[in-house]
């Protein structure tokens, strides 16, 4: 396995608002290698976005943040970086695609020049070369008639086209890690499929690392090589997409997958549900975060925090934070 290019370990992020403090990320970590797509899956409030973007300094506004742990990009410790170095890294090394394209595009500026500016600043191109690059980025992102779209304002483009323009913007700096935060949530089904196909194609061509932050199991299934399932700020399960999505071990992963119907397989006998709602992250309990909703919980789950154990060897280790299921089903661990 190639060495990871972005790596986060033992991350703890506390968010403070005037009224509450929340442990959004609680000792979670992940890593992604060039040419690999990692999907970080979780429901709203699971901390998936904060965990991925937090170390880069992209955090919710108006909230005080306490962030501990280690985060390395290309071997460099990014938590120790100066704000200006971090800002350069954010613009050049990382490319970010957000759910809402208008959060990244300036509505007052034409699309092309925004791309060219990015390419000039981070990829060090001349003005003329940057213009050409911008047009070719638009073309590459599947925008028809890129010369014409170069001079358009964001509001003149449809939702799908805007999403493509934002992907072009994220690629303009020739990033080595592309982070896609819920890139298709706001899009229609047929457009979603187009955007997912586009991200996959770019990843194949450029061999960059892609991190997909999503709650959409379908998108994970299309794009991901590896999956990390996040629940209440902790990694519940991680492994190859096939292992995690077809042979889940953690009760939460199992519940999550059972609640997603698949009309292509006939064994779906009604949509299953996970009872209850995610825990209140303002209260820090010592045990497993999923315990209140879990049908396999034993008393020990409340007092002992489960650690990730490898349940399958191989190029991509499959690790699960649930000793109960591992013991009950006689799953062999490799540690």
């Amino acid at each position: 396995m190639t060495a990871p290019i972005y790596e986060v370990e033992g991350l703890v992020i506390d968010l403070y608002t005037p009224t509450v403090s929340v442990r959004a990320v609680d000792g979670a970590g992940f890593h992604v290698a060039p040419g690999e797509t990692l999907a970080i899956v979780g429901e709203s409030g699971s901390g998936k976005t904060v965990m991925t973007l937090g170390p880069l300094g992209l955090l919710p506004e108006g909230v005080a943040v306490d962030l501990r742990g280690t985060a390395r990009a290309d071997g460099k410790d990014i938590l120790a970086m100066s704000p200006s170095d971090l800002s350069r890294l954010r613009g050049g090394f990382f490319g970010v695609i957000f759910q809402d394209p208008m959060s990244a595009l300036n509505p007052m500026l034409k699309i092309g020049p925004q791309l060219a500016e990015q390419a000039r600043r981070y990829a060090g191109l001349s003005a003329e070369a940057a213009r050409k690059e911008a047009v070719s980025l638009l073309a590459r992102s599947g925008i028809p008639d890129p010369e014409d779209r170069y001079g358009r304002y964001p509001h003149e483009l449809s939702g799908g086209m805007l999403q493509r323009a934002m992907i072009a913007l994220a690629l303009a700096a020739r990033p080595r890690v592309l982070i896609a935060d819920e890139p298709t949530t706001a899009l229609d089904a047929t457009v979603q499929a187009q955007i997912l196909a586009l991200i996959r194609q770019i990843q194949k061509e450029d061999g960059i690392a892609v991190i997909l932050i999503t709650h959409d199991i379908g998108a994970v299934s299309v794009l991901a090589d590896r999956v990390a399932v996040l629940y209440a700020g902790q990694v519940a399960e991680e492994g190859s997409a096939v292992d995690v999505l077809t042979a889940p071990v953690h009760p939460y992963t199992r519940g999550l997958l059972a609640s997603v119907p698949d009309f292509r397989s006939d064994n779906a006998s009604g949509t299953k549900e996970i009872p209850g709602i995610p825990p209140n992250q303002a209260r820090l309990e010592p045990g497993c975060r999923f315990v209140d909703r879990c049908d396999r919980a034993i008393p020990a789950c409340r007092s002992r925090r489960p650690r990730l154990q490898a349940v399958a060897k191989g190029t991509v280790p499959h690790r699960v934070a649930c000793p109960v299921v591992i013991a009950a089903e006689g799953i062999v661990t490799h540690d």
Partner: protein, 330 residues
Amino acid sequence: MTDRESRGGPAIQATGLKVHFQTAAGLVRAVDGVDLTVARGAFHGIVGESGCGKTTLARALIGLQSATAGQVNILGRDRAEWARADRKGFARAVQFIFQDPLGSMSRRQTVGQTLEEPLQIHGQGDRAARRGRVAELLDLVALPATVLDRLPRSLSGGQRQRVSIARALALSPQVLICDEPLSALDVSVRAQIVNLFARLQAQLGLTIVIVAHDLAIVREVCSAVTVMYLGRVAEEGAAKPLFDDPAHPYSQALLSAVPSPDPRIEAARPRILLEGDPPSPRNPPPGCRFSTRCPVVEPRCRETEPALRTVQHGGAAACHLADARDHAMI
């Protein structure tokens, strides 16, 4: 007409329904000639992409949106006439669930007050009787009595939607129209609410119309489905046969776009990728509305608009090529 006399016919029948809006940018033909029949006791899904008019259609069915043309009959009675002549009687028969449960409730009323309000409006029972009914409703949607004194904002998304469902059921309606009741919810909660709908439908013998964009869920729970494209019905029929063998190229593409949660299936299956976005409902293309994106388009598709015709799965599709003995497969 009493309910008994009207029994037998469809729960909802819309004919030639059009809803056009005048906007600054021109006339939007949100719903542009829709015929829809919802059988009694059906769980009827309306699917399509944004701008296809599915939400406007749902709102027009209950009269939240006034129709430009066409007629809607509910339980055998003309909707407009019914709502005019007997507003409360209509409300007792037909209810609506909004996409955003939080917005559809007063921020300052507790759950108890919210659930009691329809009963008060209809002057049903005294205070004690209403309390009893509210408790019953909470039970029906599986909410604990502890939520009674809470404000909507302090509830989770799933709980809010349960409250809004309970409120819609307070008057024991026969028809429930739901506008994307699942889209604001997390995946695992979505399953809870879908199952709740299915249980209520069976338990109360409701007719449910549900607007949704999650096709997998529609196939899972709906008995019938209508696929809309640009203000028109593209295809309709019983849910499972239609999903297994869609006749309209748009339905095929829409279904193909839904990824399987199994990456092995996903890696193996061929996918239909449509070009571009749906056109704007301000100026739909001539002929078949799907002709601009259709992978199997023929010259006649750009000239004449196809009518709905019966297809193999027993439903109907609006596609010239659906005529062929074996419909077009893209």
